[in-house]
Amino acid sequence: MTNLILARTQMAYSLGFHMIFAALGVGMPLLMLLAEGLWLKTRQERYLKLAKTWAKATGVLFAIGAVSGTALSFEMGLLWPRFMAFAGATIGPAFALEGFAFFLEAIFLGLYLYGWERLSPLAHWLCGGVVAIAGAASSALVVASNGWMQNPIGADLLRTNPAAMDVVGVLFRNPAWPIMTVHSTISTYAATGFAVAGIYAWGALRGRTDALRLTALKLALAVGVLAALVMPVTGDASAKAVAVRQPSKLAAMESQFATERRAPLRIGGIPDVANRKVYLSVEIPGGLSWLSFGDRNAEVKGLEAIPRADWPNVPVTHIAFQVMVAAGTVMPVVAFWYFWLLVKRGRESALRPWPLRALLVTAPLGFVALEAGWVVTEVGRQPWMIYQVMRTADAVTPAAGLPWAFAAFLTLYALLGTVLVLLLNRLRHASEGGT
C-alpha cells in the first residue's frame, strides 16, 4: 500500500476513535452537571448517585479522549508534515486557543472528579460548569482549523506574502466556521444523550427499572432529543454553504453527475460512477435545487463540470451522507414517540420491551451520524487536503516506517476500545449495588 492510503487510513481511525471520546467529553459533563444540579435543588439522593456514576464514566472517557487527542496533535505532523509546515501558522492559532480551553477543562475536571469531599456542593457544581463550558469551547475552537481547510481564505497570501495574513480573520471570520462548529458541537450532545439513554434502556430490558434509572434515561433522552432537533436546521445551513463553496462535495453527497436545473433530491441509492448513474434511489424533483439554493429551478453544478481528477470518492460521500440523514431522522422520531408513551400511556407502557428496544436501536445512531457527517466533510473535500490549494497526496509523509506505525496504532486503538467497553460495563454494575 502506498503511504497516501496508509496515512489517510491511520488519520481516519485515529480521528474517528478520538471523536467518540471528544464528543463524550463535551456531552457527558452536561449530563453530570444536570444531575448534580437536580440534586442541589431537590436534595434527592438518587440525583447525587447519578451524578457520581456519570462523573466516574466521564473521568475514564475524558482520559482516553485526552491521550488520543495528544496523539492526534503529533499525528497531524507525522502523517502530513508538508501540510503542517505550510499551514501550521494559519490553523495553529485555533489550536492555541483550543489548548487554553482544553487546559481549563482538564483542571476543573480534576477538581470535579476528586473534589467531592473537598469542595462545597455549590463550588463543586460550578467546577462542573467550567468543565462543560470549556469542553464545548474547545470543540468549537478546534473546528475553526477544519473550517479553514474547507474554505481556505487567504491561502494565496500564505504563499506570496504571509506577513500580510489576517490571522484571526481567516479562521474566525471565515463563514465556514460558525456553521460547521455549531453543527458539530451540538451533534456531541445528541450522540451522548441517545447513547446514555440506550444504556439505561438496555438495563431496563434486564429488569433494572427503578426510579433512579428511569430518571437517568429521561434526562439523557431529553438532552439528546433537544440537540437532535437542532441538527437538521444547522445541517441545512451547512449544505447550503457547501453548495456555494464546495460544489464538488455537494455533487458527491447527492451523486449529482449532471449540471442541471431542477436537480432532484436523491434519497438513498447506490451511485455507479463509471456510468454516472444512481440506482435504487427515491427522487424528489427539484428537491436538491430547493434545498441548496431555496429555488426549485436553481442550477446545481454536477460532477461533470469538475475535472475527473478532482472528484471526491462519490459512493463513500453519498452513502455517508444518506446514513447521517437517516440516523438524524430516526433519532428524534423515536425519542418523541417514547416521550409520548411516557406522558400519555404512563411509565408501565414506556418500560415495555418494544419501546426500550427502539431506544436500543437509536443508542449508537448519534455516533453513527456524527462519524458519517465527518466522513462527508472530509472525504467530500478530497482530493484536497486544503480545498483547491494543497492536494492530500502532496501533504503525505515520505517516512518509510509508516506501515509499522499504521499497524501498531490500529492494534493499540482496537485494544483500548475493547478494554474500555469492558470497563464501562463493570462501572455500570458497580453502581448497581447501592440502588
Binding site: V60, S73, V130, A405
Partner: protein, 345 residues
C-alpha cells in the same frame, strides 16, 4: 524587524515554548517519575507507596500533561517548518513516544477502575510503569537528537525541502551515546523529582521510603551528568562548544551546587526545601540545554529564525498568552491548593 512590546517576537515565542517545556518537565516529569516508583514499589509498604503515588497524581495528571500539547501547538504554529522536519526525521521515535503516552494515560485510569491486585490490575500497573519509563526516555533522546547534527535538511528550512530533503543518521541522532545519555538523565531527573515531591506529600515510614529513593535517584543523576560531559565533548560539537565557553561555567556550577544542595536537604529531611531545589535543578539543566542549542531548533540546518512563521501568527499567539494564562494560573493555583495543600496521609 518588527518588535513585540520591545521584544524580539521570535525570541519571545521561543521563550514561551521553553517555559512550556519546563512546566511539562517539572509537572509531567513528576508524573512520569511517579510511574517509575509505582513500578519499582517494593518492600513491606509497596502498596502504601502505590497508594500515595496514585493519590498525588490522580487529580493533577491530566492537567500536567496538557503542557506537552502546549509545547507542540507553539512548535507547529510558530515554527511550522521545524515541526514538519521533526515529524519526518523522528517519525518512529515520536510514534513510539505517542504509544507510550496513550498507553500510560489509559492504563492509569483503567487500573484506577479495576479491583486492586486482581490480574487485570497487575497488567495495567505494569503497562503504566513501563510506559512511564519508555516515554520520558524517548522524549529525552529527542532533545538529544535535535542537538546532535544527525538530522539534516538538504534544501534548508523550507516547506519545499520536506518532500525529499530530510535525512536522518539514526546512529548519530538518537542512538548516539549522548542522546541515549540525555534520555537516561531525563529519566533519572524525573525519578528524583517525583521521589522528592512524594516526600512532601507523605509521612512516616512511606516518607522514609521515598527519601531513600530520592537519594538513590540523586546519585544516578550525578553519575549520568558526570558521564555525559566527556561524551558531549567527543560527540556533540554544538553542545560542547557552548558548554565549554567560560560564560557557561556559572550556570553549570549552579546546577551542580543545586543538585548537591537538594540532595543534602533530602538527606536532612528538609523536604520542602529539597522540592524547591529539585525544581530549580531541572530548570537549570533544561535552560542550559536551550541556551547551548540557541538559535538552532534542529542543529545545524534549522534555526528559530529560519523556521519562524510570519509575524502576524507569532504576535497572535504572544498576544493570546497573557489572556490565556490570566485564566489558567488562578485555575491551576486552585487545583493545587485544593489537592496539594493538605494531602498528608
Amino acid at each position: 524587524m518588527q518588535l513585540w512590546y520591545g521584544l524580539d517576537p521570535v525570541m519571545a515565542i521561543g521563550a514561551a515554548m521553553l517555559l512550556a517545556i519546563t512546566a511539562y518537565a517539572v509537572l509531567g516529569g513528576a508524573d512520569f517519575g511517579g510511574g517509575i516508583w509505582d513500578l519499582l514499589a517494593t518492600g513491606p509498604r509497596a502498596s502504601l507507596q502505590r497508594q500515595a503515588i496514585a493519590r498525588a497524581m490522580g487529580p493533577v495528571w491530566e492537567a500536567n500533561h496538557v503542557w506537552l500539547i502546549f509545547v507542540l501547538v507553539i512548535l507547529f504554529t510558530a515554527f511550522p517548518v521545524a515541526f514538519g522536519a521533526l515529524s519526518i526525521a523522528l517519525f518512529g521515535l515520536f510514534h513510539a513516544a505517542l504509544a507510550g503516552i496513550v498507553l500510560r494515560g489509559a492504563a492509569f485510569v483503567f487500573r484506577a477502575n479495576t479491583a486492586a491486585d486482581s490480574a487485570g490490575w497487575r497488567t495495567w500497573a505494569s503497562v503504566f510503569g513501563a510506559a512511564s519509563i519508555i516515554t520520558p526516555f524517548l522524549l529525552g533522546t529527542a532533545l538529544g537528537a535535535v542537538s546532535s547534527g544527525g538530522i539534516r535538511l538538504a534544501g534548508g528550512a523550507t516547506v519545499g525541502s520536506l518532500a525529499a530533503g530530510v535525512s536522518v543518521n539514526p546512529a548519530q541522532a538518537w542512538f548516539s551515546p549522548v542522546s541515549l545519555g540525555i534520555g537516561a538523565l531525563t529519566l533519572a531527573l524525573m525519578a528524583y523529582l517525583a521521589a522528592v515531591f512524594l516526600t512532601v506529600e507523605t509521612e512516616g515510614a512511606v516518607q522514609e521510603d521515598f527519601r531513600v529513593r530520592a537519594l538513590g535517584a540523586g546519585v544516578a543523576v550525578a553519575l549520568l551528568a558526570a558521564a555525559l560531559l566527556p561524551l558531549t565533548a567527543n560527540l556533540s560539537p554544538l553542545l560542547w562548544q557552548h558548554l565549554s565557553r567560560p560564560q557557561s561555567a556559572p550556570p553549570m556550577l549552579a546546577g551542580a551546587l543545586l543538585a548537591a544542595f537538594s540532595a543534602w536537604a533530602v538527606g536532612t529531611r528538609r523536604y520542602k526545601l529539597a522540592r524547591g531545589a529539585a525544581v530549580a535543578e531541572v530548570v537549570i539543566v533544561l535552560w542550559g540545554w536551550a541556551f547551548a542549542q540557541w538559535p538552532y531548533l534542529i542543529y545545524p540546518d534549522v534555526t528559530v529564525y529560519q523556521s519562524a512563521a510570519a509575524l502576524p501568527t507569532i504576535k497572535f499567539v504572544l498576544d493570546a498568552l497573557p489572556f490565556g494564562f490570566a485564566l489558567l494560573i488562578p485555575s491551576l493555583w486552585f487545583l493545587f491548593a485544593v489537592f496539594k495543600g493538605h494531602t498528608r496521609v
